[in-house]
Amino acid sequence: MMQCPYCGAKYEAPPGRRFYVCPYCGTVVSEGKTYESVYIFKPTVDKTTAFRKVLNLKPVGSPDDLPAAAPTAAELHFVPLYLYHITFQPLPELETYAAALAMSQPPVELPKGYQFPVRWRTSFKPSLERIGVFHQPDLDPETAFRALGDVVEEARDYASVFKMRVTVAWTFEGMAYYPLWRLEYQYGGRRYTAAVDAADGTVLHMEYPLSKRGRAQGAAFAAAALLGSTTLGALTALWISLHPQLGALGGAIAGTGAAFRLAAFATARRGRFHTETKL
């Protein structure tokens, strides 16, 4: 058992870990040191708004009546993140901040390299535990840091240009909890899932039903891309005084890229939307 030096609560503490996080106030204790810089990104999007954002997103090929789909489950998850300050000696100018997921199996899949938005933070209040699930980190900061390989690699690339070997050192700056909605809805007897950033309302990803019209459009686009590319290939060959049949074949082969992508969309069991740019 461990007693939190900040709020006095007692909690289970498996031996052998370097970091312990109080499940009541979020204070981190490591080797006798207390880290109080634990904060929470404020959830500003409620369940109704989260569903509205998902069902009204209108991804390509979704049915017009998707907003009338039945919400079946909604869970607000507070996912733990570790914050690091990373330095590269002897090149102090390369120092940077980075955040890494402190869980090995997050309840909501985050896009790779997800950039957290610039939004408000709030301090931990026990009342927040009534609206969402606070997840305990199951990775220690050393293990979670390995996910930041890209950041370290980028700095090493720069260092190699300066013909220097850098030593990577990091300091643990604290923890943040990030709120994410995991949603489930039903349409036409099938269940679909979605995830929404509860701090700024971005739909991170969603599964959705594909309408007949959406599939037909996808198939028509695939055929148009293939046909157009074949015709233009023949014309291009004719223009440079070659056999148009050979040009048509070339155009058809090059057009398979588009045709494959569009046909895969038209025949998929369900549509998938992923956010691309963090605004």
């Binding site: 070659l242 588009a258 605004l279």
Partner: protein, 331 residues
């Protein structure tokens, strides 16, 4: 925390920069000396919506659909920045592979042949810029970059924090990093551009050395020694960013608007039929032209022809992505 004027309790969060007391209405500054912090005053919320509507009226795609668009009330965020004036210089030595074609005459007949030469060059470049550093850890958004860029282009005058704060005290986001760390972040932001400039300079010197100004170059190796010549930071400066939602046929989209002049710095918009048509046409053009031209290559070089065809297939695959997008971003 208690109000320094009337002693009433204050609602404080980790992002509290200035808290207006609910009882006496006076602002309490939690950022040390507020005169050391600057903020750019913002237009009012109604003025921001007005500018957003004006932008919609001018937009090529949205102007025809404006009757289907409804704007909602916007949210204000005051983002903390340091503006760092940085000048770096770099001495370098590089090995550059230069490839160019030259015409030789064999028995009076002109023939073109490719020549590859390896050249060692050395030089010095410098780069100076003002870099906007967001004073938050591990947070980013496209609108943050665009807002700072628009600030540097338009240069509105920041005022001391106490003057800029009216009833917008909840909108401020606390700074998390010190000016020293902001300086380091600025240098890191400039280093890739400095290295790109080294590549450019080394390529130009190598081309000049072989006397072929249109030659293709490849930097095989380089050693760079850089020095920081100037590194000064501004005071912490808050910039107002408004997020303006609008509803188009049941779906919400957002404008990100600079608070001082109402300029939309990032606009999220629906993808319309005209955008899908453009994507389809670009897929057809890429596939048709590359496919047709590679058929000529197949006659002379089978491998190159096959590579060009595969390249065409990849290009059309990428172009088809535009047909599957429901939203676009204009920045």
């Amino acid at each position: 925390m208690r109000c320094s004027y009337c002693g009433a309790p204050l609602d404080v969060t980790p992002d509290s920069v200035v808290v207006v007391c609910r009882y006496c209405g006076r602002p309490n500054f939690l950022v040390g000396n507020p005169s050391d912090v600057l903020a750019v005053p913002t237009l009012s919320s109604s003025e921001i919506v007005k500018r957003a509507v004006e932008r919609t009226r001018r937009d090529v795609n949205l102007r025809w659909r404006i009757s289907d668009i409804n704007f909602s009330s916007p949210d204000l965020l005051y983002l903390p920045f340091y503006f760092v004036d940085v000048k770096l210089s770099a001495d370098y030595q590089a090995t550059v592979v230069v490839t160019y074609t030259e015409t030789v005459y064999v028995k009076g007949q002109p023939r073109t042949r490719a020549v590859t030469r390896v050249v060692r060059v050395a030089g010095r470049v410098s780069l100076s810029d003002v870099v906007a550093v967001l004073a938050r850890r591990a947070a980013w958004g496209l609108s943050v970059d665009k807002l700072a860029e628009h600030f540097l282009n338009t240069a509105p005058e920041p005022k001391p924090l106490a003057e800029a704060v009216q009833q917008t005290s909840d909108a401020f986001l606390a700074a998390e990093i010190t000016p020293e760390r902001a300086k380091a972040k600025a240098v890191r932001a400039v280093i890739p551009r400095l290295l790109a400039k080294v590549n450019e300079d080394a390529s130009a010197r190598a081309r000049a050395a072989v006397g072929a100004l249109l030659a293709a170059t490849f930097i095989q190796d380089k050693a760079v020694d850089y020095a920081v010549e100037r590194l000064e930071t501004s005071r912490l400066t808050y910039l107002p960013l408004w997020v303006v939602p609008y509803l188009y046929r049941g779906s919400y989209y957002h404008y990100y608007v600079a608070g001082w002049d109402g300029r939309v710095v990032v606009a999220e918009e629906p993808a319309f039929a005209e955008h899908r048509t453009a994507s389809l046409l670009s897929a057809v053009a890429a596939g048709g032209l590359l496919g047709g031209l590679s058929s000529a290559l197949l006659y002379t070089d089978l491998v190159m022809g096959a590579a060009a065809l595969a390249g065409g297939a990849v290009l059309t695959y990428l172009a088809a992505g535009g047909l599957l997008k429901s939203r676009r971003v204009e920045a």
